[in-house]
């Protein structure tokens, strides 16, 4: 079996165990640390799948979130309440685990024949088909098509045209294709993301502000 696949499955198991501990543990600090472990597992999965941009971002965001959460948890060290455990949630969890084990078993043990329960290889239908490059041209501009054949996916088209600086297709000039897509081809998306972050930061300021709150409280106490 592919060693990458074995590593991926090991990471998935590690993340599952980490999430279960994070849900079930009584201590809030242990729960936060388990959430962090799940995040680092996610970044390793990204790295194994060949997405270093995502892996870097995941690691860094995880560290910052972990610092904030640990600080908040240490500041107010109240522990979660002990709840009486009914059998229904445990049963649901066990059922979900069983279904997941069945799916994983089917994915690994199914043969290559048609109809078997089998996971496709990563990126199989999207990134592997070869089509004539003329189909990749924008509507109404067949002169923009690259020569020859290339893969049918959008990724293939970006790889074909991303660096090219001919008269026909203007590339981005960025050696990192991901940045070329994020900030040139799909810059509108990035603008939307930036707007989302901006609004989220404003919302956090508004919720956590102290100026309006304290004055309001002062007025209340004056009365």
């Amino acid at each position: 079996m592919d060693p990458i696949l074995i590593l991926l499955l090991a990471m998935l198991g590690f993340m599952l165990i980490g999430s279960l501990i994070a849900i079930e543990t009584r201590d809030l600090l242990s729960s936060v640390i388990c959430v962090g472990a799940v995040g680092f597992g996610t970044s390793l999965v990204f790295l194994l799948l060949g997405a270093p941009d995502l892996a870097i971002t995941q690691v860094v965001v995880e560290i910052l979130v972990l610092v904030v959460l640990v600080r908040v948890v240490i500041t107010r060290r109240d522990e979660t309440h002990a709840t009486s455990r009914s059998t229904l949630p445990v049963g649901v969890v066990l059922l979900a685990l069983g279904v997941m084990a069945a799916v994983v078993f089917g994915a690994l043990a199914g043969g290559p024949e048609e109809g078997a329960l089998r996971l496709r290889p990563f990126g199989d239908p999207l990134m592997s088909a070869e089509v004539p490059a003329a189909q990749l041209a924008p509507a109404g501009r067949p002169d923009l098509a690259p020569a020859g054949t290339c893969s049918a996916s959008v990724g293939g088209a970006f790889l074909e045209q991303g660096l090219a600086q001919s008269e026909a297709s203007r590339g981005t000039g960025a050696a990192n294709y991901v940045m070329g897509v994020l900030l040139d081809y799909r810059a509108y998306d990035t603008l939307g993301e930036a707007t989302v972050i901006f609004v989220a930061v404003i919302g956090a300021y508004a919720v956590l502000r102290k100026v309006g709150r304290s004055r309001h409280a002062g007025n209340e106490s004056d009365r």
């Binding site: 941009d53 910052l64 904030v68 500041t75 981005t172 900030l183 990035t190 930061v201 956590l208």
Partner: protein, 152 residues
């Protein structure tokens, strides 16, 4: 809060500059190597958060204030929007109007490094501001009640 012990402060003095330098590298070389504005901005915010955690809230109140974070946040967003609007020089919104240069060089890819810089400043300042609001000022505003409520 007076910050942490002398060991933490000294190690922070040595390390924080390198962390911030690495964040700036990730932002500026986003179009050449993996990374980019968002990841580099979060690294910058993490380095600043380390400084604030080590040196205490006095440092945050005097040097790295909330207003600075808010200003840098808005400036980064405006820089990104400026790049977008300047695309009208080349035709439409977000046109890469600058010369593309050699692939792999630092000064290449047209407007992408500038947009990366804007996003890096924006994300770094925004997350650092949220960190200040969440972690640092929470205790300052609640004052003695938080210290009172803390378990030994």
């Amino acid at each position: 809060m007076q910050g942490m012990s002398l060991i933490v402060k000294n190690i922070t003095r040595v390390v924080a500059g390198f962390i911030i330098l690495f964040g700036a590298y990730i932002v500026l070389y986003g179009h050449v190597t993996p990374g980019g504005g968002f990841a580099g901005g979060v690294i910058l915010a993490g380095g600043l958060a380390l400084v604030v955690l080590a040196f205490g809230e006095e440092f945050a109140r005097n040097v790295l204030t909330h207003d600075v974070a808010r200003l840098a946040d808005s400036m980064g967003a405006l820089l990104f929007l400026l790049v977008a609007v300047l695309g009208f020089m080349g035709g439409v919104f977000f046109t890469n109007f600058l010369p593309l240069g050699d692939v792999g060089a630092l000064l290449s890819a047209g407007t992408i490094p500038i947009a990366n810089l804007g996003i890096g400043i924006k994300v770094g300042a925004g997350l650092f501001g949220v960190f200040l609001a969440l972690a640092a000022f929470r205790r300052a505003t609640s004052g003695g009640s938080a210290a009172h409520g803390r378990l030994p």
